[in-house]
């Protein structure tokens, strides 16, 4: 794999994480527990879609194949999506949505922080921007998790349940393959083991504040960055891609 192909694939991985999580959050639109949260989740969704769009556009610019950002978003099947398994998991209740958000935002924060030192100028610029947004996302979700963890018996039960349920998908964010190997050697991306350690530190701090117990790793599954997904991604893409599939090339 050459550097350009690796960078292309890496941009898709980042963008796919953003668009899939953005789509999940958008499912909350008009269903939020309170109006402010409805706005918050759709605001975060909008940030994620924007980050995805810039990354898809950059990916397209790397290849001379007449593709477009829309093509990447709406015409790839789940086996061609490289997002991590965590973000495609169904929303569940509000505690599960915020838990997924904390686990992912902490990862994204440390990854973007590292990528601010990338030797690739565009990736560096996009990461600096995404980092600013991600810090707000992390603060938002961690405030809720801490509040729930110190709340009622019911909120504590649901939040611990959410952590237990989602924990097995977290290792997947740090799995490296030949894409990472190539990009690390070029100084474009960084060792995800280092990101893993920083991530662990950040979320441990949050879960300590929230009095939540990090569970043992059971039934860990990985494969997202190779295009192997849980059953949920296909359903999500069906809904997200419906319009372009039924009316190819439709614009408005």
């Amino acid at each position: 794999m050459n550097t350009k192909e690796a960078l292309y694939n890496f941009c898709l991985r980042l963008a796919d994480n953003n668009i899939v999580l953005g789509q999940r959050l958008a499912e909350w639109c008009s269903r939020g527990p309170i109006l402010e949260e409805d706005l918050a989740m759709t605001n975060i969704s909008l940030d994620l879609f924007g980050e995805a769009e810039s990354l898809y556009e950059y990916a397209v610019s790397l290849m001379d194949n007449n593709s477009t950002a829309d093509h990447l978003a709406f015409l790839r099947s789940e086996r061609e999506y490289f997002n991590n398994l965590l973000v495609e998991q169904p929303n569940g209740d509000f505690a599960q949505t915020m838990m997924k958000q904390v686990l992912f935002s902490a990862f994204a924060k440390h990854l973007y922080e590292a990528l601010c030192n990338s030797h690739d100028e565009t990736l560096k610029g996009l990461s600096a921007k995404a980092l600013k947004e991600t810090k707000y996302h992390l603060r938002h979700s961690s405030e809720w998790i801490i509040r729930f963890g110190n709340g009622t018996e019911e909120s504590i039960r649901r939040t611990q349940f959410a952590l237990n349920k989602l924990w097995r998908f977290t290792d997947d964010m740090f799995v490296m393959n030949d894409v990472d190997e190539e990009l690390i050697s070029m100084g474009i991306s960084f060792n995800l083991d280092d990101i893993h350690a920083k991530w662990k530190f950040t979320i441990s701090e949050i879960f300590a504040e929230a009095n939540l117990q990090i569970p043992d790793a059971n039934n860990v599954i990985t494969g997202g960055s190779k295009g192997f997904h849980t059953e949920h991604l296909g359903h999500l893409l069906c809904e997200m891609q419906y319009l372009q599939r039924v009316h190819p090339g439709a614009t408005w």
Binding site: E36, E37, L39, A40, N43, I44, L46, D47, L48, F49, G50, E51, E53, S54, E121, T122, K124, G125, L126, A128, K129, A130, K132, E133, K135, Y136, L138, R139, H140, S142, E143, T202, E205, I206, E209
Partner: protein, 169 residues
């Protein structure tokens, strides 16, 4: 208004662009916000405007991309090209005191911290923002996210009015 009879100059293009309002905060122009990074013309006919996005998913971007093209073509440019620059990333540190005052008069509290000290985890939940209506700082945050990507919702406990805070970015 800008005199359209004489040919466009760099200075004149900046003046024209400075009349394009941000769709979300009409009292502030896209130049004052720091969205427009550079203006150049490679020959007399074509103007190249470099802009940087504020928020990644900000829908207002699409609006002023069109606005920039329209006003420059109407002002005598034969061709307009828009370039997008991501580095350095846009920051609220670029807002001048004059711009901040305009926001305040419009009822929006301008960003109070420097972007380098913003949004650390658990950091500013106790922070008070000065109310743009009454100038007191007995205020609290209602929500970190508001009507547009750039704003948070706040409430003044002194004059009992809600207000928007332009987030530090």
């Amino acid at each position: 208004m800008v005199n359209l009879d004489s040919p466009l100059t760099n200075e004149k293009v900046w003046k024209i662009l400075n009349q394009i309002p941000d769709p979300d905060i009409p009292v502030v122009s896209i130049v004052e916000l720091g969205i427009v990074r550079n203006v150049e013309n490679n020959d007399a006919e074509k103007w190249i405007v470099t802009i940087t996005p504020s928020y990644s998913g900000c829908p207002a971007m699409a609006v002023f991309r069109e606005d920039i093209k329209t006003v420059l073509l109407e002002s005598g440019a034969k061709e307009v090209e828009l370039k997008i620059s991501y580095s350095p990333a846009w920051t609220t540190d670029w807002l001048s005191e004059t711009t901040r005052e305009k926001m305040r008069k419009h009822g929006i509290a301008p960003p109070e911290t420097n972007s380098s000290q913003s949004v650390e985890l658990f950091a500013d939940s106790k922070r008070k923002i000065t109310c743009p209506h009454c100038g007191k700082n007995e205020t609290h945050r209602t929500s970190q996210f508001g009507s547009t990507p750039c704003k948070a919702l706040w409430y003044c406990d002194s004059c009992h009015q809600p207000f928007e805070y332009f987030k530090c970015y």
